[in-house]
């Protein structure tokens, strides 16, 4: 025997649950649609890399049947991946290694520089703080590549052209200007935490590494990703400094060079195979870093 009130509550619960199911169904549908839109170009890239001929107007190669081969349709093949590593005109392995070295070293240095700058601008108070923030805002407005020629000359003065460390130097030199996100995040961490640590005798260096950093994992993740990705995919500066030399090229420059007009039809598949390989490190990095996305870290850090 159930009470009418209980029945009502159950009915309410059921209808609430149904609403939740409908909501979740709609959300999953939306997410699947989004995923498809975002994956199509990537899938297209993979299919093109597996296609036997230059056929950018077909979404995917035809099945490897004898009729299709006889009709001259593009069929499935892994030959492009072999070409990628064996072709003597291009040094994909070398490019890849260059890119990895540049991206890893710049990522390490830049992350420290970006977070340090953000911390200084957010937590420390000094006379030039606001002028520096305005200066960086203004510097960001100047169209960057106009200064490429001059940067090249400056590197020449320092006798640094002709090796890949010049690229690392340039990326790191400009890294402070990416302080916006981390600074905004640090601004939301309660200052009372710093003060508590300082009363316990911590200096500002300790506060930065022991108090603020552990509370900022999502933003550290973001900074690492961005500082790895931008040197990894940068094209303009890298191609200007490489000056057409294989041993100075990064993956981005090398792949772009594959597509120069005369080569386009021959190397398009190889280019796509290269594109697939280039995507791997960042996806691995992101998959690994995702575990640091934890909810509500600063919540409850301050009582009262």
């Amino acid at each position: 025997m159930t009470l009418p009130v209980e029945n009502k509550a159950k009915a309410h619960y059921r209808s609430h649950k149904r609403a939740l199911h409908i909501r979740n169904f709609l959300i999953y549908t939306l997410l699947v649609i989004i995923s498809i839109i975002w994956l199509i170009p990537f899938v297209y890239l993979i299919f093109q890399s597996l296609s036997s001929t230059y056929a950018p107007s077909y979404f995917m190669p035809y099945l490897n049947t004898s009729e299709n081969i006889a009709a001259g349709y593009p069929i499935w093949t892994g030959a492009n991946y072999v070409t990628l590593f064996t072709d003597t005109n291009y040094a994909f392995g070398r490019w890849y290694l260059n890119s990895l070295v540049i991206a890893i070293v710049s990522c390490a240095i830049e992350t420290v520089m970006v977070l340090g700058t953000s911390y200084a601008l957010s937590r420390l108070r000094f006379r030039l703080r606001k002028p520096i923030m305005k200066l960086m805002l203004i510097l960001g407005m100047f169209p960057g590549f106009l200064s490429m020629i001059i940067i090249y000359f400056i590197l020449k003065l320092m006798n640094l052209t002709g090796n890949i460390f010049s690229l690392i130097l340039i990326y790191c030199a400009g890294s402070a200007m990416q302080y916006y996100i981390a600074k905004g995040f640090f601004d939301t961490i309660p200052r009372s935490l710093d003060e508590a640590a300082m009363i316990d005798g911590a200096d500002k260096n300790t506060v930065f590494f022991k108090v603020v950093m552990p509370l900022s994992k999502p933003i550290v993740v973001y900074t690492i990703l961005i500082t790895f990705t931008s040197p990894w995919g940068d094209f303009m500066m890298a191609s200007y400094l490489a000056q057409g030399k294989n041993e100075l090229m990064t993956v981005a420059v090398g792949l772009q060079q594959m597509l120069s007009l005369a080569n386009k039809t021959t190397y398009f598949g190889t280019f796509c195979a290269g594109g697939v390989f280039v995507a791997v490190p960042i996806m691995v990095l992101f998959f690994w870093l995702q575990k640091y996305y934890v909810e509500g870290i600063t919540g409850g850090a301050v009582k009262g």
Binding site: W38, P41, Y58, M141, S175, I181, T188, Q290, G296
Partner: protein, 524 residues
């Protein structure tokens, strides 16, 4: 006065939303005279402050001459000597090393380059013939001698001026330091290297953190920028290319040329400039805000409690970031070309009869560029927002829910203000970045379709560069300086300056009015 404010506030609150907006706009304009008045009335006090600062500098220098002991007086000539003799060996030696470097540099390079600055070089390339013996036959061959290179002279001059400024700054600093150490020693206080190092991690931590980033910015951003601005006042172009020829100062010519050069069909240059500028602004506006809001929504959807496979959804979006931008952009432009896979599929399904001109019709191209840009930009915004959204205190939402707030209300009253607070400076930098967004336009449409002007006397900045209807100012500059039939760095640099002026105007207004700048601790 206070009553009047209260009264006007009451009146303001009783207005409806439309009226409030009008009131604010009216208030903004009516406040302009007052603000201007305030600005001018503050000039004397500001000048006094500046004057005070300058006299203080003079007084410090005079003090160190008059009151200084031999250590301080010696540091007038030998930088750092006042510090080395007072237990601050590291800093003293660094000052001294800079002085040595500076003197050597000035003797070897700085002096001669500063002398060449007014003329930018007297003698460029000289051709002369020499007698050589080739295959046993004596013959004449022309050789070149290179003397002055305008570009190098200009660059070295800027570097020299920077080094001089740094020298003056350091010289004054070490003098003041020495004087204050001397005065402290009177009351028996000493500061050694150990104290310096300790301060570097605590009291002077800002300097420790910012030294390298700022040095990098000055060398690789500020110096090139100054140089590029100065090039705008020279005739550096393909007919004055160093080292074969020299270029020279032309004053404001490049600038006035923008407004005065006219063809048979009117002020073509100015007209194209206006159109390109307008599209640049429209593009930057849509590109920035579409990415921002759509990305935030996607991040919020994935963050909803009870949604499974969060990692998967995020990683799928990250594929866009993982593939370098130029590859995905090239693929996109391939997919949407007139014979590309999209048109091909649509035709084979019988949905269209003839190829859709995705990137060859000006209006459609503009829409497509913005759409493709959201495809590229949303994952980045998602990445930022995921981290930030997680940091919003859960209690805020819980108490809002208890008060019966709808999800929309919670978004507009909690989420959006919080996000805007954290990201306004980032948004501004994105807006700026989009005005200077080279990749998207260059790889997708290449700026086409081109502007077509018939008639004679079309300025070569338009006809020679192949500027198109989807070109931004930045890609136009690229075309002018790199791909044009005759490259023109002077005009390119002036256009760069124009971008700079436009962007600076808008973003400094936003920046000055944003709460995240004026009220940095609001959300702690």
């Amino acid at each position: 006065m206070a009553e009047a404010v209260a009264e006007s506030q009451l009146e303001y609150l009783s207005l409806n939303k439309g009226q409030k907006v009008l009131y604010k706009i009216g208030h903004f304009f009516s406040a302009i005279p007052k603000k201007l008045g305030h600005f001018f009335s503050s000039i004397p006090s500001k000048a006094r402050k500046q004057g005070h600062g300058i006299t203080k500098i003079g007084k410090n220098i005079a003090d160190s001459v008059v009151d200084g002991d031999w250590k301080t007086r010696l540091s007038l000539l030998v930088m750092g000597s006042g510090l080395v003799t007072r237990h601050q060996i590291i800093r003293g030696v660094l000052y001294f090393l800079y002085e040595v470097f500076f003197i050597v540099y000035m003797i070897l390079v700085g002096n001669s380059s500063l002398k060449g600055l007014p003329s930018l070089g007297q003698l460029g390339r000289v051709e002369y013939t020499i007698q050589v013996v080739a295959d046993g036959m004596p013959m004449e061959m022309s050789t070149y001698l290179f003397f002055d290179d305008s570009f190098t002279i200009l660059l070295y001059s800027i570097i020299t001026i920077c080094l001089i400024l740094v020298f003056v700054f350091l010289w004054y600093n070490q003098l003041v330091d020495s004087l204050s150490l001397q005065r402290k020693s009177y009351i028996g206080k000493y500061a050694s290297d150990k104290q310096t190092l300790k301060n570097a991690l605590d009291k002077n931590y800002d300097k420790t953190l910012l030294f390298l980033p700022m040095l990098g910015l000055v060398v690789f951003t500020v110096v090139p920028m100054i140089m590029m601005i100065i090039v705008g006042f020279t005739n550096y172009n393909s007919s004055h290319m160093t080292p074969t020829k020299m270029f020279d100062w032309v004053g404001w010519y490049n600038f006035s040329n923008l407004f005065t050069s006219s063809g048979s069909s009117g002020h073509v240059f100015l007209e194209v400039f206006g159109k390109v500028l307008l599209w640049t602004l429209v593009w930057a506006f849509f590109a920035t805000f579409s990415n921002y809001f759509l990305g935030m929504i996607v991040a919020m959807i994935i963050n909803i409690k009870g949604i499974k496979l969060k990692k998967l959804w995020r990683t799928i979006l990250i594929t866009t970031i993982a593939v370098p931008q130029f590859i995905s952009l090239l693929l996109m432009s391939n997919m949407f070309s007139s014979t590309g896979v999209v048109n091909n599929l649509l035709e084979s399904w019988g949905w269209i009869n003839k190829a859709i001109p995705w990137f060859t019709d000006a209006t459609l191209a503009k829409v497509m560029i913005i759409l493709v840009n959201t495809w590229i930009g949303i994952p980045y915004t998602m990445l930022i927002c995921t981290g930030l959204l997680m940091n919003i205190p859960e209690e805020l939402y819980e108490s809002a829910k208890i008060d019966g707030a709808s999800p929309f209300k919670m978004y507009f009253k909690i989420t959006l203000p919080y996000m805007l607070f954290v990201t306004t400076p980032y948004l501004i930098s994105q807006f700026v970045g989009n005005i200077n967004n080279f990749n998207v336009i260059y790889f997708l449409s290449g700026g086409g379709p081109v502007f077509v002007y018939s008639g004679t006397n079309i300025p070569y900045q338009v006809s020679g560069s192949g500027v198109g209807q989807t070109d931004l100012l930045i890609t136009w500059i690229y075309k002018l300086s790199v791909t044009a039939t005759s490259s023109d760095y002077g005009t390119a640099s002036i256009l760069g300056l124009m971008i700079f002026a436009v962007v600076a105007f808008f973003s400094l207004i936003f920046y000055g009015n944003s709460r995240s700048v004026n009220d940095e601790e609001e959300f702690q």
